[in-house]
Symmetry: C2
Amino acid sequence: MEKVPKDEVQGRIRAFQSILDREDLDGAFILQNVDIYYFSGTLQRSVLFIPRKGNPVLVAIKSFHRAKEESPLKAVVPVGTGNGIVPILREYGCTEMGTLGLEMDVLPTNQYLWYQRCFPDSRWMDISPQIRRLRMIKSPYEVEQIKKATAILDKGLKEIRGVIREGMTELEVDGHLALIARREGHMGILRMRGWNQEMTYAHVLAGESGAVVSFCDTPHGGSGNTPAMAQGAGFRRIRRNEPIGIDYGVGVNGYVSDQFRTFVIGSLPEHLEKAHECSRRIHDLLVREGKPGISCADLYHMAEAEATRARYEDFFMGHGEGKVKFIGRGLGLEIDEYPIITPDFSETLKEGMVIALEPKFIFPGQGVVGLEDDYLVTPSGLERLTLTDQTMMTVC
Amino acid sequence: MEKVPKDEVQGRIRAFQSILDREDLDGAFILQNVDIYYFSGTLQRSVLFIPRKGNPVLVAIKSFHRAKEESPLKAVVPVGTGNGIVPILREYGCTEMGTLGLEMDVLPTNQYLWYQRCFPDSRWMDISPQIRRLRMIKSPYEVEQIKKATAILDKGLKEIRGVIREGMTELEVDGHLALIARREGHMGILRMRGWNQEMTYAHVLAGESGAVVSFCDTPHGGSGNTPAMAQGAGFRRIRRNEPIGIDYGVGVNGYVSDQFRTFVIGSLPEHLEKAHECSRRIHDLLVREGKPGISCADLYHMAEAEATRARYEDFFMGHGEGKVKFIGRGLGLEIDEYPIITPDFSETLKEGMVIALEPKFIFPGQGVVGLEDDYLVTPSGLERLTLTDQTMMTVC
């Protein structure tokens, strides 16, 4: 079992303490499991307090022994049966509690109210935007983890080509993708930060399924097989000469990779072939232009202009109420990280960002075609992390 | 695609409006996806307002068309590009906004603060305990859905017996369980309400893996294959003559079923065989005694007493810091529903509750044995919903 290296955790804490200093906060409670993992190396049920200066304290609820074993932090303390976290923090020197940060985008209200009661004299600030911006820049260690996830996807997409047959249901293909993912070490979950957003390891969308709009913040959603899940694969059977869109994601050591490929048994109508080619051209364009310093808005507009040149603007990134106004977003411990490649995100690309670019075309009643690949922003441009060939994947 | 029947939704709304009346609330915002699904029949991104009297209003964000198609509610309204939900609610006659309910156990703080700003004169109350108590009693429609999930598990547990082989990794077995589940129609997710709690469709825990403590609120956790997930299957290979604990859960139309069986290639040491037998005796005992009116505390103590009589009290429901003080809990749209079969839950069994009973024994360094089955509380006692044989599952 690979642990998060000590220098990774130390570097993250140092960077966060600079943020606390800049924002004039005395400290922050880190309470969401993913953020706790990022700053401590363990996901065991805990409360992490990071003071502006000095050592963070991880108060472990369950399992203490596992948290102690996994985390390189110095102060890993069992919550015990005593008076809870307030005296523990005091004992460890965390006494400045004037203005404190909380992850208010995800923290349940009852917990917010509980912390207000515990520290009645403190003022509170939402520290999530700063955490998300910090997590946006990946270390070489983090990029390595994403590459491991990418390697599983590459293997899976090759293997599934030999599994897909006419008459199979989307759900059968989906199940095979799950089997491959887990066998190869997918950690079993893809995490999203967005409220009420959920994601399975795959969308398998044959023909018109690929054009079904869902609650998901994605250009395609799929019908699923129940309104209670309302996305991804269903009992629709796969036919010849229709696009089979497969969005596939796995995680290794917390870090996810996410790819989309278009499969076909036989061949596609010319306009779908051309739209797929257009998606590929958009990738080439963004790889050439995607350098540190370019704005997310500019990247989006470039992609949109290319889609418009090909006269596919009506189908670009969804259709009707399903249309989304982004062509990519950051990847890391969550699949909806910063940056978002949209006109509304006021950031430029920076070295160390990892982004998934997903120019896709959705044709009502016909399906989805396109490509999604993951890239690292390097000083010389975008480096493709995904390995899978970018051509249409024909099933024999 | 099966929709939630109109009379189901109407009955739930009526019952909830009685609660609003009893609690003297003017209405409640329902904002969590699962609760929205329960009260409206759709899980599309929406804001649901239920007034004390009159019609609920579902303001749909995405997809409006799908929400309109799936929900039997009369007022399904697109959020539009106007001034948002406040004028829409006013237009639909929701003008009494003095004291309002919110799901404060799950609602993110930022949203709570947003609602406070939108309705500055309102007082707010946590309505989640009442929602959880309402959802605790299942209708015949809901029990039918759970039975469909149960049928998938029965099929899967039989099929996996032919798949498990010495030398396979836990993850391979886990992947096959996923393949079967999805092929048969598992909706692709198991939802938990608890903060930072997560669950995959299976725990496959061979030998000592079954005794690894995790953050999960369960007697067994497993190591997983990374501290970033820290539960369930890992790369541990399956050996002869050791317990292979398989916890398997799937969902159909939102409703989950959850079962645990112990598999073995060869045979187990006598004390593990006996502990498994003790788990089976506890099930028999609880089925006999589990009638409407009996307290959750009494059920727990009966089970504990039986474990103590067999001299396995140190291993009952975990060991060391992994010990949990419950032997079961409610099942429905979430896998951590009410009631909780623990001394700390002040409820008696009621007709229509569906509970998973999971008396298990965890032997440090050796693994987990036991049985988990799902039951419906009927006037004459507990009716087992799960179909799988309760003997140890020997793999040939």
